[in-house]
Symmetry: C2
Subunit: 337 residues, 2 copies
DNA sequence: AATACCATTTCAAACGTTTGAAATAATTGA
DNA sequence: TCAATTATTTCAAACGTTTGAAATGGTATT
């Protein structure tokens, strides 16, 4: 049980040279003699020397910690996105602190404060569904700490870095797919209006209709949030008019689509078997459904996460100017089941 | 844009006193004059002073980082367990690095090395399904860094700290429930034999049968892993004997149970509607199934996670001796749908 | 008025690195 | 052989805290 970690000083004493020589040898300084370097590096390897991160961080005035705030880890999209972030962060010597806002603004503010105190070097955030005031996030940039908004972001604000799924394109594709299958009455079930992508997706839907000469009908559009009850009432609105019954449905999120399908089935909707559905997510649970959606929109969350961390690291390293606001889009794919 | 963080030195200069007085005032040393304390604390508050963690960690020879290795964040149990860990860790000033082994031993070894280099103060780990050699984890304890195994652990090894779901009790309860509903032929679908809880759950099943005078039949037991194909063939084995057809099924994990249900339905099993199923997990997707399990075993992952971090912090703070190996069990509940 | 005794504050070293400047050693050229 | 040049190593300060020991100032005791 070797309890005291190896330090530069210890190596220096063992090798009978100064701490700075050891440090420079390990960092491959050109002024250090090759033979010396070799001796130092071998000894460091043999003794399993690992530099003390706290010391380095103190010296470099960095924490090498990335903060990430997201609504919920139980959401399949966010969980997958984490993977992309972690992989790349680790590879670059950064650690990631993940924190969940549970889609509550108050909690988000708390977490932001906590992360600011933790002196994170950068922040990746997917805002809560009712974040409209951004002062708790702006304070990061005010202190020179870069922030990247991912997925959920303040759509009206151009002065921030964003990494988004190309949710317009995804929704366009899905709608087009349904049109190509002969549907004329395609309903659209959108999410909370506060969340930016709700509108992007709607625009994808609209544009697909327009480009394919399918008339838009306002009564085929309804909105819900993450609550089952609201979804059910939205679905009731969409399907209560026997004159103008939709034959297909595009929904902003898969678990919500499942709620919709379940409801339609539960009321024994007369044309249930003809209704073709598509939702965002491509969650694996689809395979267990008896009446699965005909297709899913794969959002490539890992890629969104990876792009976010890549951008953030570039900002941290000042490879991109902090005011040179970036917007990165990650395409979706339609996966037919 | 105030770019240089406030330091003790800065406060000291502003207040015209020494750095140590400021430090001690903030840490509420009894030797510091009350009025001085007040002045210092007020100034610290007004200037939003936050102590530099790297400096503190360096001084205290700690990283205040907890490492956590788990198979997969996409697994509902683990995702939920994280919540318990993070909450409690944060409250105590610790940050958590989450890393996924993807149930691969090699990756697990890599992650362990990475976390060791990150100088975590403690480790929480759910081992991969084929971890049998523990040298990569033992090295933590060899260096005085406490390790808590949670959920998945080396069952044969008593010399380690464990926090487990009381999976025996959960399975007992589920089996008992089915017996009480009149079932005599209850099948048990177990998980990978390498994972400890597979056996605990089996024992719960066996004991419930025994205690209720239901004869045990070896042909009603089959094992699978996380692969769908293996699940299907296990199910085929269980249900291929028309003489001795099970009427109920207890499965070690819910998504796998869903695979089983799906298969039975797909082959139009004659008694499908009579078969009553229970699995571990209580995943929310149950509500979307047409033929949902009759009940679920709720494993309380948050509580498991919280117990793990609590124990780990006690070990880190030497409130519990590192060799005083603990075993904590968290009870399950049967949730009838 | 000298001493002892508090209360309070400050000093100074330490944690483990990094790094420009200074020092030393080795080599070259005349 | 000596100065000049170059190669290599070491010094010393810094990053921002913490903390035991030492110093300071004041009050009480004799």
């Amino acid at each position: 049980m070797q309890n005291t970690p190896i330090t530069l000083k210890f190596l220096a004493e063992k090798l009978k040279m100064s701490v700075s020589t050891v440090s420079k040898a390990l960092n491959n300084y050109p002024t250090i003699n090759e033979y010396t370097k070799k001796r130092v590096q071998e000894m460091a390897r043999d003794l399993h020397f690992t530099p003390n991160k706290s010391a380095i961080n103190l010296k470099e005035r960095k924490s090498r910690i990335i903060g990430i705030i997201l609504p919920n880890l139980l959401d399949y999209f966010f969980t997958r996105s984490i993977y992309g972030v972690e992989q790349f962060a680790m590879k670059n010597g950064y650690n990631v602190i993940i924190s969940q806002s549970h889609d509550e603004l108050e909690k988000e503010i708390q977490l932001a404060d906590m992360l600011l105190k933790s002196r994170v070097d950068g922040l990746i955030v997917a805002i809560s569904k009712n974040t409209q005031d951004f002062s708790h996030l702006d304070q990061f940039e005010n202190m020179g700490i870069p922030v990247v908004y991912y997925t959920r972001n303040p759509s009206f604000n151009l002065s921030c870095h964003k990494v988004l799924g190309n949710t317009f394109q995804g929704c366009y594709q899905a709608t087009k797919f349904l049109i190509d299958r002969g549907h004329k009455k395609i309903a659209y079930l959108g999410g909370p209006k506060m969340i930016n992508f709700t509108h992007d997706r709607f625009n994808g839907y609209i544009n697909a209709l327009k480009d394919n000469n399918v008339p838009f009908q306002a009564e085929l559009v309804a909105y819900t949030d993450f609550d089952k009850e609201n979804t059910v009432s939205a679905i009731q609105n969409l399907f209560n008019n026997s004159e103008n019954m939709p034959t297909a449905l595009v929904a902003f999120k898969e678990p919500i689509l499942f709620d919709a399908i379940k409801y339609l089935k539960s009321i024994n909707h007369p044309k249930f078997n003809e209704i073709e559905c598509i939702g965002f997510g491509n969650t694996p649970f689809i395979s267990y459904l008896d009446s699965p959606p005909i297709a899913s929109i794969e959002e490539n969350p890992e890629s969104v996460g990876e792009n976010a961390i890549k951008l953030l690291l570039q900002l941290i390293n000042r490879e991109i100017e902090i005011q040179d606001y970036q917007k990165i889009m990650v395409d979706c794919q339609l996966v037919v089941h």
